[in-house]
């Protein structure tokens, strides 16, 4: 097995750990403490040795721990050992984590106390080597398995899990090379360097964290870690931003919403890049961001776990288009827009986006899922994103909704994403989700609305929507709440939960 790719990712750590003079510059800022690159590299080397002692060659190493500098060191250590890391979020339910661990069959489990509470039992039942983070656990065990259980044809660096619309999580196997190419792109596109401090908002189990971890380590930037508590709290995010001297923000729009709500009159002049990804951003939030981050380049990023980031759009400060386009492909990204017959659509028509890129996953853990998601066009592998897009005359891609956001109701084709956009444009609407409930075969178009004031009524929103939408696209049932809509762990609105709640009401 080649070691070149995995080493490239961990290279800055290796350099700092002895190949070049150690540096005392901050690498990770977390919970009010800073850890320098040299001590991070030293820690990473310790984890590398532990992993080498416990886990078979090439075996994945699961890591279930809160976001701390020690966790960053452990991830780097796994990579330095030339094994893929499989991050599991300790905030997830035990049953889900146990299922993921079971399917992973890793060579070892690294965990802190939170991770041990979740997976300690399952790991012991599987006679899995446990490496403790922070020394507060039971210490590491060398006694467990030594036989190779997990071999991969190409050096893998990470195994992530997608939530999946079916509810069954998929393993996404990602090569070291894919991460290296991505880290290089981020470093050059945004001129990321040692003077920068990157805010890490997403959990390590989420693909957004690749930028936070690897682009930072690659470029020598420091990382400000928002742990699970800070990530959901606008005031704590602002405190971290100021305390760590963040220059580079990267998160889903919902986290920026938290900051915008808590910022008041404050502005953050040191922030020079604000990247948001994961879901469309609301126009009013975008306007707030211009004010809060007066010196920042604002960038809308598009991607998914399977391909990493593939499109981006620099948001102009004057007259930004509404909604924001996905923008242009990143260097090396090739794409096709496919119709229902899975053939490329004519210029300007809408269809499903298929992407070919150097940052694409190797495969899913389940080969059948890979065959369903990957299509060969002209001898190249394209990932079918499930997103409907349109390319405009200027060459920019526009997001139209999920391919499965189009439903047929009473003989009409309805795009729930479009209806959501229209409803969201009403001043009184903070969040909205449109979905179809099915009760005894009777389908009902529903809208759940989070509105800060109680004055908004179903009549107001129907009249508003009727200005743009045909009558058959008006939801039959509106539900209002002052509270935010339920989100999944990635911060996206959970339509399935809303639909279930609607039927049980």
């Amino acid at each position: 097995m080649s070691t070149a790719n995995a080493l490239t990712i961990a290279e800055p750590l290796c350099r700092a750990s002895g190949l070049v003079p150690p540096t005392s510059r901050t690498s990770v800022h977390c919970r009010g403490r800073s850890i320098a690159y040299d001590s991070l590299a030293g820690e990473a080397a310790r984890y590398r040795d532990l992993v080498n002692a416990c886990a078979p060659d090439g075996a994945a190493v699961a890591i279930c721990a809160e976001k701390t500098a020690a966790t960053v060191a452990a991830i780097a250590g796994i990579l330095m050992s030339d094994r893929p890391y499989a991050p599991l979020d300790p905030a997830h339910p035990t049953a889900r984590l146990e299922n993921l661990l079971d399917a992973l069959r890793p060579g070892a489990l690294i965990c802190d106390e939170a991770g041990l509470r979740r997976l300690g039992g399952a790991a012991r039942r599987a006679r899995l080597a446990i490496i403790a983070i922070g020394g507060a656990g039971p210490g590491y065990s060398l006694a467990a398995l030594k036989s190779a259980r997990f071999r991969t044809p190409r050096p893998l660096a990470a195994i992530l899990h997608t939530s999946g619309s079916t509810g069954t999580p998929k393993q996404v196997l990602i090569s070291a090379e894919a991460i290296r190419v991505f880290a290089e792109w981020v470093t050059s596109e945004f001129a990321l360097g040692p003077e920068d401090c990157v805010l890490s908002h997403a959990p390590f189990a989420f693909d957004l964290s690749f930028l936070d971890l690897f682009a930072s380590l690659h470029s020598g930037a420091s990382i400000a870690l928002a742990d699970a508590g800070a990530a959901a709290n606008g005031a704590r995010l602002i405190a971290l931003l100021e305390e760590a001297g963040v220059t580079f923000w990267h998160s889903a729009p919902s986290a920026l919403g938290l900051v915008a709500a808590a910022a008041g009159d404050r502005v953050f002049e040191a922030v020079r890049c604000v990247l948001f990804a994961g879901e469309p951003i609301a126009d009013d939030l975008l306007q707030r961001l211009f004010a809060i981050f007066p010196n920042a380049r604002l960038v809308n990023i598009y991607g998914c776990t399977e391909t990493n980031d593939t499109f981006f759009f620099d948001v102009p400060r004057t007259d930004p288009p509404v909604p924001l386009p996905l923008g242009r492909p990143i260097d090396g990204v090739d794409f096709a827009i496919l119709g229902e017959d899975r053939m490329p659509v004519p210029e300007g028509a809408s269809g499903e986006l298929a992407v070919h890129c150097p940052t694409m996953m190797e495969r899913y853990g389940d080969e059948r899922q890979t065959r369903k998601a990957i299509r060969s066009i002209g001898g190249r592998r394209y990932y079918l994103t499930g997103d409907r897009v349109r390319r405009d005359a200027a060459g920019l891609l526009h997001f139209l909704g999920r391919a499965d956001s189009v439903v047929k109701l009473n003989g009409f084709r309805l795009d729930m994403a479009e209806i959501e956009r229209v409803l969201h444009a009403h001043d009184g609407v903070r969040e909205v989700a449109v979905f179809v409930t099915e009760d005894d075969g009777a389908k009902t178009l529903c809208a759940s609305v989070s509105a800060p004031t109680e004055q908004l009524t179903g009549i107001d929103l129907r009249r508003h929507a009727m200005r743009v939408l045909p009558a058959h696209a008006i939801p039959r049932r509106f539900t209002f709440s002052a509270a935010p809509l339920p989100k999944n762990t990635n911060g996206k609105i959970c339509r399935k939960t809303l639909a279930r709640a609607r039927l049980q009401a």
């Binding site: 009549i459 129907r462 009727m466 939408l469 045909p470 009558a471 058959h472 008006i474 049932r477 509106f478």
Partner: protein, 85 residues
Amino acid sequence: MTQSATLRDFICAEFAPDLKPGELPADLDLIDSGIIDSLGVLKLVAFLEGRFDIAIAPEELDADLYRTIDSIEALIAGKRIGSAA
């Protein structure tokens, strides 16, 4: 239940279950506000015929006659006077 209440109950239950029948303004344009569409007009006519025992002629399937609760009630009242005469 009064005729007006019956009508409001039907409209809310069938087309807009989140609205309260008592809060539906009698002069609200049900079509412009997206509560009733063309398919909805047909459902409404079937309901009126069955519930109020009136006959609606094909030329009366004009959506404009069913725009508001007031106009629907006027239509029913007109039918009743017509059949009593």
